[in-house]
């Protein structure tokens, strides 16, 4: 079964208490938002970090995407707050 690597950054990482996770790759038509909901249902830090999707942004295979993007064949999903560089 193919897997999907999930990376966390900034306060998402701190609340979850992990840098990354690996899950079985979901059905190709399931979206980033679906996966975030699935992770949030684990409760604890996951629920705290991922409960409010308005505060979250994501990247699939190192490209920014909106949360209703299907995961498709992506290998890496990153979940993080809005960026604050510069």
């Amino acid at each position: 079964m193919a897997t999907l690597d999930i990376l966390y950054f900034a306060w998402v990482r701190e609340l979850i208490g992990r840098d990354d996770d690996q899950v079985d790759r979901p059905a190709p038509d399931s979206t980033v938002a679906d996966l975030i909901d699935m992770l949030a249902s684990r409760g604890g830090g996951y629920a705290e970090a991922l409960g409010d999707k308005e505060r979250l942004r994501a990247a699939l295979d190192q490209h920014f995407v909106v949360l209703d993007t299907p995961i498709g064949q992506a290998r890496e999903l990153a979940i993080f707050p809005p960026v604050t560089g510069g």
């Binding site: 190192q62 920014f64 809005p82 960026v83 604050t84 560089g85 510069g86």
Partner: protein, 147 residues
């Protein structure tokens, strides 16, 4: 000339400007960002997404080069732990004329703020550290360039 660096080390602004002056344009514009020490800030920590950061900044530079006739672009973004007064980011552009150099420099720094995977955490002497919240106005400013 097109060069992007994401690094912990400081950089030499004079050397970077000098390199841009040698690409044959009529003008060089630059922006240097400095860590502000206001509100009792003792350190600024920059986290990033290593596999994505440099490629994404390259894409932002490519975007600038499609919009303006640029002869040189140099972007340096530091990561890790910085102190007040430290340089954090450098954007330099060279073009035949000032408008392209100045406008593309402003575009690049706006897009670095809103389109590149960096996150800032502020550390203070007297209270817990906090992650910097993205400003809606920064996003609005960046999207203003889509016009």
């Amino acid at each position: 000339m097109k060069q992007v660096s994401v690094q912990a080390e400081d950089f030499d602004v004079a050397a970077e400007l000098s390199a841009l002056e040698q690409v044959g344009g009529g003008g060089v514009a630059s922006f240097t960002g400095i860590v502000r020490g206001e509100n009792g800030l003792t350190a600024l920590e920059l986290q990033h997404y290593p596999a994505m950061t440099a490629p994404q900044v390259e894409r932002i530079v490519e975007e600038a080069m499609t919009r303006w006739p640029l002869l040189g672009v140099r972007v340096i973004h530091r990561v890790g732990r910085l102190s007040p007064g430290d340089r954090i980011v450098f954007v330099g552009t060279a073009s035949r004329h000032r408008t392209a150099a100045l406008e593309s420099c402003a575009f690049l720094i706006d897009w670095l703020k809103s389109h590149a995977p960096f996150w800032k955490k502020e550390h203070f002497a007297d209270r817990d550290p906090t992650w910097v919240e993205a400003k809606a106005e920064d996003e609005a400013k960046a999207y203003g360039w889509t016009k």
